[in-house]
């Protein structure tokens, strides 16, 4: 196949990628958009196989067969609650693949030109960082290692030294064009990916996953420069930007900066936790709350990560259905960083057949709280902490929150009075309009649903 023909088909694939992403922007067209992108990928793969002189068919067929099986099994078997881990792992595979491409290219041509050398280093470094960083994120989300911010004294200095060494070694590798130096750079990047993500706490995962998403795209773009392929550069740039846009949305929703998330091991350490439990709280039982809910005109559900942990998305749907049968209007308030990845809560509730027209973003729902009878907070803490609005000394001051305290009454389902991810006391729990329901989210929601039906 001549080059004009193959390049034209790559262009078609690029256009389909862009149109596919555009269609992902609306729930009605999103599915077709994803399929469009998949078709684009199929075109790109077929053109590549036809237009290049392939010697190693065995390697390609076996690799693609194995990858297809693993990918398909993972995609069909994963629990929706585990979606963040899966996306983290996929990010890692993508980044890793780009690093391996650069490594293979280096084996073929151990004396690359200056430009190619720079791109090989970028591909190796970004790809390796994405690979190990993603797998630490995966391990944290999967609970294989502690989700708390884990650090050691001198962490920042060690990491800074590691990063500086990485930059110097990269320059050295390109300047001297020495293959061992390229491998050294790769090893440093692999280590830095681990040490950099390890201290980051679970609540900051939405930022990290979005960021790793971006870096997997950038790694692909760098690989595109290595093998001089426009389609890789275009698709890589699209994903790189997409990840950065999401990263930016997430850090804004946390009122933090990216460097703050990456370098501060925020929250969780015992010393920072303020005295909690001195002030009184109003504890309620499920029956009382059920009556309150059943006689409300409007109830707003505020799900947080605790709902995902308790796998209570179906139970909250049952409660909502019971309330709607009594004529209560039920809405869902979704904070941008509720959950462990951007949009996590929306997918979780969609799984439970909750239609997306009942899910409301922060700004839209905050207008509704003053006319809401009951705000039911399930497994959320920091995102409903009024200190973010009115306590200038609070570490989360300025973070956009859901104004549940403006509802006539607020009910909080929580295991205990322990502080949230940020390790900050929540004055919401001590308001006279707030009732606390202590217990497992799923058990409690089930009790409420039964009590509402019986009321």
């Amino acid at each position: 196949m001549n080059e004009i023909f193959s390049e034209s088909l790559y262009l078609v694939a690029a256009i389909l990628f862009i149109l596919g992403l555009k269609r992902l922007g609306s729930p009605a067209t999103a599915r077709s958009g994803n399929r469009m992108a998949a078709i684009a990928m199929a075109i790109a793969v077929m053109v590549t196989l036809i237009s290049n002189e392939i010697v190693g068919w065995g390697v390609i067929v076996s690799g693609m067969a194995l990858g297809t099986v693993i990918g398909a099994v993972a995609a069909f078997r994963v629990e929706i609650t585990s979606m963040p881990q899966l996306v983290a792992a996929f990010n890692g595979f993508g980044g890793g693949a780009s690093a391996f491409v650069a490594a293979t290219e280096l084996l073929r041509d151990s004396d690359p030109a200056l430009e190619a050398g720079v791109m090989i280093v970028l591909s190796l470094v970004i790809g390796s960082l994405t690979l190990t960083g993603s797998f630490v994120a995966f391990a944290k989300l999967q609970g294989l290692v502690s989700g708390n911010p884990v650090g050691f004294p001198g962490q920042k200095i060690t990491d800074s030294l590691l990063a500086i060494t990485l930059v110097i070694a990269s320059i050295g590798a390109v300047a001297q064009n020495s293959v061992p130096a390229y491998w050294t750079v790769t090893a440093l990047a692999l280590v830095l990916g681990i040490t950099r993500v390890f201290p980051i706490g679970g609540g900051d995962m939405p930022v990290i996953i979005a960021f790793l998403n971006s870096s997997s795209g950038l790694a692909a773009a760098a690989a595109g420069f290595v093998i001089e392929s426009n389609i890789l550069i275009i698709a890589g740039a699209l994903v790189g930007v997409s990840g950065l846009v999401l990263t930016n949305i997430m850090v804004k929703a946390m009122n933090r900066s990216l460097s703050n998330v990456l370098f501060s091991a925020f929250g969780g350490s015992a010393a920072e936790v303020e005295e909690i439990g001195v002030e009184p709280v109003w504890q309620a039982n499920a029956e009382d709350v059920a009556v309150m809910l059943a006689y409300a005109r409007r109830v707003v559900m505020v799900p947080g990560y605790g709902l995902a942990v308790a796998q209570a998305q179906h139970t909250i749907r049952d409660l909502a259905a019971a309330l709607e049968a009594k004529g209560v209007e039920v809405m869902y308030a979704i904070h941008p960083v509720a959950g462990r990845m951007p949009g996590h809560m929306n997918v979780l509730l969609a799984e439970a057949d909750i239609t997306y027209d009942k899910l409301f973003d922060l700004e839209d729902i905050n207008r509704e709280f003053p006319t809401t009878d009951v705000a039911l907070v399930v497994g959320a803490n920091d995102v409903v902490n009024p200190s973010a609005r009115n306590d200038t000394d609070s570490p989360i001051y300025g973070m956009p929150i859901l104004d549940v305290d403006k509802a006539t009454n607020c009910v909080v389902i929580k295991r205990s009075l322990s502080p949230g991810f940020a390790g900050i006391a929540n004055p919401l729990f001590h308001l006279s309009t707030t009732l606390m329901l202590f217990g497992d989210a799923r058990d409690m929601l089930k009790k409420l649903a039964i009590a509402v039906e019986e009321s």
Binding site: A30, N34, I60, G71, F100, E105, L107, V226, G236, P336
Partner: protein
């Protein structure tokens, strides 16, 4: 010159990406992420090229790993996104 053309494409594609992505509502952020994640598996194209050249054991091994990892990314990414989007329903649809 190739480098400059590549950079030009990179910058222009980034602007297109920015315009398209900023319009995606928060409801769809997870599918957007897993879908774009599958797109980043485009590195499969590069993996196929380097693995297909097939000279030397080391190249074959590294090429095989690159193809496998990229395929997992592509196949898994698109399938899981489709699975998620299937669940997104509106009231008027059963």
């Amino acid at each position: 010159m190739t480098l400059l053309i590549g950079l030009t494409i990179l910058v222009l594609a980034s602007f297109v990406g920015f315009e398209v992505i900023t319009k995606v509502p928060p409801t769809l952020h997870t599918p957007l992420m897993s879908g774009s994640n599958a797109i980043s598996g485009i590195t499969l194209v590069a993996a196929l090229i380097v693995a297909g050249r097939g000279n030397g054991t080391a190249t074959v091994i590294l090429g095989f790993i690159a193809v496998t990892l990229a395929t997992i990314n592509v196949v898994g990414g698109f399938l899981v996104t489709d699975r998620m989007l299937e669940m997104f329903k509106r009231k008027d649809r059963p």
